[in-house]
């Protein structure tokens, strides 16, 4: 990569109790790149995202956003960096005490101090972008189906027009058609914003659709990183086993046999 990366991670380590979840992660994400991180359950994907967001403090290592070291930032400095981010949470994480449009407008009203009426218009526009009507905007999140909740969460993640968007398993728990709809929406909205995207998933169809680059994390390290077109010829047994979904191979799931 010739340009300096948007996100640069070096030697990132994090342990919980006796479990070393991240064991020296090195990763670069270029400006405007869409990177998908694949890996099995418990391989540290979510922890990696949360470290970058500052929700979890890493034990060791460096995370740079636009060349600025962000580990150890707190208070207002952290909030300033957080403004660059948008995040789509796995379960949606919509605020159930607020209406749909208030959820979407939240980052604008609370984070940026936009006037309510103006923020509502932006929220309606973003909702329309993900295919939801004004009638939905007045509902509460609990009244929506899973697919609709994901769309609202996507609208919320892009409402502040962030430079970097994270997607945490965006298609988990959706039927294949709705998953494809969400994938299309993600690809379209990332392209429209020109944002840098980082997604974690174990859904290969989703990964192929939204990624420029794919990185595979295994036992707390990045074991393969390449363009999406190269994934089928990665020459890495772990990657091959994962993308083909085989139980037999170098990755051993810890299953107790009867």
């Amino acid at each position: 990569m010739s340009t300096s990366p948007k996100i640069r991670i070096r030697g990132l380590k994090k342990r919980f109790g006796s479990k070393q979840v991240l064991n020296g992660v090195d990763l670069d994400v270029g400006i405007g790149e869409s990177l998908v991180i694949i890996g099995g359950s418990g391989s540290g994907k979510s922890v990696l995202l949360k470290c970058i967001l500052g929700l979890i403090t890493p034990d060791e290592g460096s995370i740079q956003i636009d060349g600025e070291e962000t580990t150890g930032l707190s208070g207002r400095e952290r909030e300033r960096v957080m403004r660059k981010f948008g995040m789509l949470f796995q379960g949606g994480a919509l605020f159930d005490s607020l209406k749909v449009w208030e959820n979407v407008a939240f980052g604008l009203i609370q984070g940026r101090g936009t006037a309510k009426a103006e923020a509502r218009l932006v929220a309606l526009e973003k909702l329309a972008q993900v295919g939801l009507t004004e009638a939905v905007a007045e509902l509460s999140p609990a009244e929506l189906s899973g697919g609709m909740q994901k769309r609202v969460a996507l609208a919320r993640a892009i409402a502040t027009e962030p430079e970097i968007i994270f997607f945490d398993e965006p298609t988990t728990g959706l039927d294949p058609i709705m998953a494809d709809v969400i994938n299309d929406l993600i690809a379209a909205s990332v392209k429209e914003l020109g944002a840098t995207a980082m997604s974690i998933t174990h859904d290969m169809a989703s990964a192929r659709k939204i990624a420029d680059h794919i990185a595979m994390i295994y036992e707390g390290r990045i074991i393969w990183h390449g363009a999406v077109a190269e994934i089928d010829n990665s020459g890495n047994d772990h990657v091959d086993q994962f993308i083909n979904g085989r139980a037999e191979g170098p990755i051993q799931m810890q299953v107790t046999r009867p």
């Binding site: 500052g54 909030e79 995040m87 949470f89 919509l94 980052g107 984070g111 940026r112």
Partner: protein
């Protein structure tokens, strides 16, 4: 023997670490109480919820406490012909002890539990993480309004409880025990001093702070789904109730032990 010592030691260290975490949490929360931005609408909503909607519970509790106090002290004091003192006994017991403690315990059950459950659910569904990614400090948005409202509203509730409790005593004394209304009211106010009411209100403020602090703390640190939220709720109520009784003694000692 060594195992026993080790268990005691581990328990003690765990207790110290927990106390430290709680004190850090409280200090962070208090420091955020004095730094903008302030969410006045949320503080107002919490004040309504804690103050206004607790009125029936606190009213019923103090009414019947005042009534039973008059009845009990009458039947007891009659043994040494000191029936004339019951108005004083009722008003002093209510303002100094019963109204703050009973109102505190009722509010701990009603409000502390609700806080722990709501914040705990937000924690396990990643809504608290979502707040952070939307550039909103969860302490300011969730914890500060509750702690401020709890600390401000409990004294008002207790003041109302004082009046209702004294009224309960009056009703029993006048309509059941045949006291003269004028004499009863006169002896109610005769020996009442400002410090009796003031100490009760100081207690109430401290209790309000403790109840909302424990509700927020246990909710904020809840882990592991529905069961974790359930445990957080129980811990919030139990720890708030016990702390409340401990601080009740300490404050009484500070005010009246000469």
């Amino acid at each position: 023997m060594l195992t026993l010592l080790r268990t005691i030691g581990a328990g003690f260290l765990g207790f110290l670490a927990g106390t430290g975490r709680l004190v850090m949490f409280a200090a962070t929360a208090i420091s955020h109480c004095f730094r903008p931005p302030f969410y006045f609408r949320l503080i107002g909503r919490q004040m309504l919820d804690i103050g206004y909607y607790s009125l029936p519970v606190v009213g019923m509790t103090t009414l019947f406490s005042g009534m039973v106090l008059a009845l009990q002290s009458y039947s007891g004091f009659a043994r040494f012909s000191a029936e004339g003192a019951i108005a004083t006994v009722v008003v002093l017991s209510m303002t100094r002890e019963l109204a703050p403690v009973l109102a505190g315990l009722m509010v701990a059950g009603r409000v502390g539990a609700a806080m722990a459950a709501e914040i705990g659910t937000m924690r396990v569904t990643e809504q608290i993480d979502a707040l952070t990614t939307l550039s909103t400090n969860p302490f300011k948005y969730l914890v500060v309004p509750r702690i401020m409202a709890g600390t401000l509203m409990l004294p008002l509730l207790v003041l109302t409880g004082d009046i209702i409790g004294v009224f309960g005593g009056y009703v029993v004394a006048v309509y059941k025990l045949g006291f003269n209304p004028g004499t009863y009211i006169k002896s109610t106010v005769e020996y009442l001093e400002f410090i009796d009411v003031a100490s009760g209100l100081v207690k109430a403020a401290v209790f309000g702070f403790l109840i909302s602090l424990m509700g927020c703390y246990h909710g904020y640190n809840s882990r592991g789904g529905a069961q974790g939220v359930g445990a957080a709720t129980t811990n919030a109520v139990v720890s708030a109730s016990i702390l409340l009784l401990i601080f009740n003694y300490i404050i009484t000692e500070l005010f009246f032990a000469r």
